[in-house]
Amino acid sequence: MTKQFRVLYKVTIIILAILAAMLIGSIILMTIGADVFKTYRVILFEPLKTTLQLTEVLIRAIPLTIIALGISVAYRSGIINIGGEGQMAMGILGTTAVALAFPELPKPILLPMAILAGAMAGGVWGFIPGILRAKLQVSELLSTVMLNYIAAQIYTFMLRGPFLDPAELTMGSGTPQSMRLSTGIWLNRFLKGTRLHTGIFFALFLALLIYLLLWKTNYGYKMRAAGASARAARYGGISVTWYLVIAMVISGAFAGMAGAIEIAGVHRRAIEGITGGYGFSGIVVALFGGLHPAGIIPASFFFGLLIVGADMTQRMVGVPANMVNVLQGVIILVIVATKMILADPYLMERVWRKYQGIGKKHVEVEA
């Protein structure tokens, strides 16, 4: 089997999966009486038409990538992190706290400090379910979800209390938010007229980092071994529980950094509701991207596209943006099926022989 064939095969399957998801999606769209083609066209292509919209897609893809990278580390190490939402919120709080506390510091000091604070706050929020699972066998599904609720409440409390913008009291926009943060933590917007910020390079850098960590270092080896077969890993002298905790801390720290980057690049202040489901979409992105950085980057672009497209459909076709959630659900189901197909080497082998057969016939005809 040639390498080209293998790649071609996988790409074809993924395209078929996307088509299948769209087909199911169209049935749903039809039942609510929407114009199917127009809806899809708007979701998929409208956001790509202008630079401005394209950059908006990229801006959504940045936090998605970062969170999904963290989730893939946890997943590969055998622990499922559905607490990205809460970890991101804590990360935003950590960053905001530092930015508010030291507004005078110069950027080269404040920015790294603020991002680090975000990572640490998220990391602590990941550490808790990790250690609970390692020491007391508490299911991470339970603990991460519960910590999401707790984080959401803390977030609201901080924004309505200690961090509340004093201007908000007099002007009252209605949405609790912090004061505008010092320019010392602003990420550069490097494309005139758009909000695209340098966070995108940071995200790509993190993707490279995770790739190296998981596949090129012995720490990554041990984490993957612990996730793939805890018993064999223990036998091999790998401290499974320790790596479980480490993986959760990394996962949480990444979600925290996603929050930090999001406010430093886009909002420049903490606002209620800006985590906006990134923590959950990140899970889908991680799985859709095959738990691998090389897959996560395109997958987060695709999901960014869906998010921006959803906004536009609402405006241009009148289909509620919630439809995108429905589509997301359909996509998750299709991913599970696709993963099974991709994991089946026999099928690939059969297709390969068919493909060879076709090749041979061509040769015979030509000869």
């Binding site: 270092t217 012995n218 720490y219 041990k222 793939a228 036998y235 002298g237 690939m348």
Partner: protein
Amino acid sequence: MELTQKKITNLRMEHITKRFPGVLASDDITLEISEGQILALVGENGAGKTTLMNILMGLYQPDEGRILINGEEVHFRSPNDAFAAGLGMVHQQYMLVANMTVLENIALGFKAAWSPYKLDLGMVRDRITEIAKKYGLVVDPDAYIWQLSVGEQQRVELVKTLCLGARFLILDEPTSALTPQETDELIVLLKNMSSELSIIFISHKLQEVKDLSDKITILRHGAVVFEGNTHEHSPSDIAALMTGHEVDLPLNEEPAPEGVPVLDIKNLNVKSDRGFLALKDLNLTISSGEIVGLAGVSGNGQRELAEAINGLRKVESGEIQFYGENIANKSPHHIIEAGMGYIPEERNTEGIVPSFSLKENLILKDTEHDEFSNHAFLKNKAIDKNAEDLRVKFDIRSPNISIAAGSLSGGNIQKVILAREISRRPKFLIAVYPIRGLDLGAAEFIHKQLLEIRREGIGILLISEELDEILDLSDRVAVIFKGQIQKVLDRKDANRRSLGILMAGVKDDQTV
């Protein structure tokens, strides 16, 4: 359940070909078996025995070829189709749900007892009693699987298959995990059953092939290389046909080594999974350069002893002195670094990470060492080279070194573990059933390797139920019974009879 109650008077597989990525697992195989016959399917590790039987059971689809029952072509899309036609298979790895009872496990496959609203467990129970009576197969329907020994699980698998109405039995290495007594019982049982059933069985133990089968088929590299009547050939003929050369298991004939004690176990107490004391004040000392065979009926504490030494099971009290350090309750990592090597009993779930590649599995314990990593970064070249070398040296049959270890044949998985543990150059080795599932040629090679590292001064604790293996290799033999060492014999005093008596729990000073 619609079962064709027709007898299977003739089963034929014709021109079966099956390819896996990079491997031709079945190469134009034709095979025939008639009513009441017992066919032995033998061949080297990775020859394609399991694959061929999986095809017969509808687990895999052949790329080419067909299957005929009583002259009619059949298509099995899944094992359920094969069950319905009266075929049943006991797999190399048992497929039982550990935290369910025997009754529930059997009910799982017993479709006749299922209705949309309820599961008729009473009916399943009756069926089990019926089968137990008919074949003299005793099982306790209410025992949980995890409470059973491997031999008992084997029996449950057999009862399960028979309950489902199998009239054609396929047994994939049924005896590899059984004690000698259990093996003898199984052979008698199968012989009796052969009056009403046809049986295909796979084994690496030629004596039982000889005792049990009518016909024999030898596979090599996926193709049939020999077919014949069993009674016309001696086991050594068969071995020669199988491996292509005379096989001759090596003997430890060297003088007793003059090593110093390196593993000294004192008053060790360890609990089993079920919570009772599996080892009771166990004492045992092993010197460098010495092979001590641990003989005993399985379930007398062997597993707990191996796990406790390797830090995988809690030590309640007692000491394990290893090169002057007490390693009791140290972490597995610490013990590995102290120089302990361990070939575990459970090869598929413990000895390898099935989804990891062959080359990755070969460095499972050494990722931190300079040999394979440089400031935490893995050295791919060294890892590849290590795998290529070991693949050749240990004759691991696999298309390449990047293939998932879990897709290898049973015996080849065992070779991966052996290759890793032996080539790591430990200071001491705990070897649990090291040749289980290996073909004769591979067994010969492994025994030679064990003797060689012994010569280098490495102490070995050899845990086995095969008395021949223990008698061939050991300098001394310790007999374990109910969590204690009954007695330690010198090689010259140990023989099948003396060991058998000790293993049954009789201290020989009582008999005198």
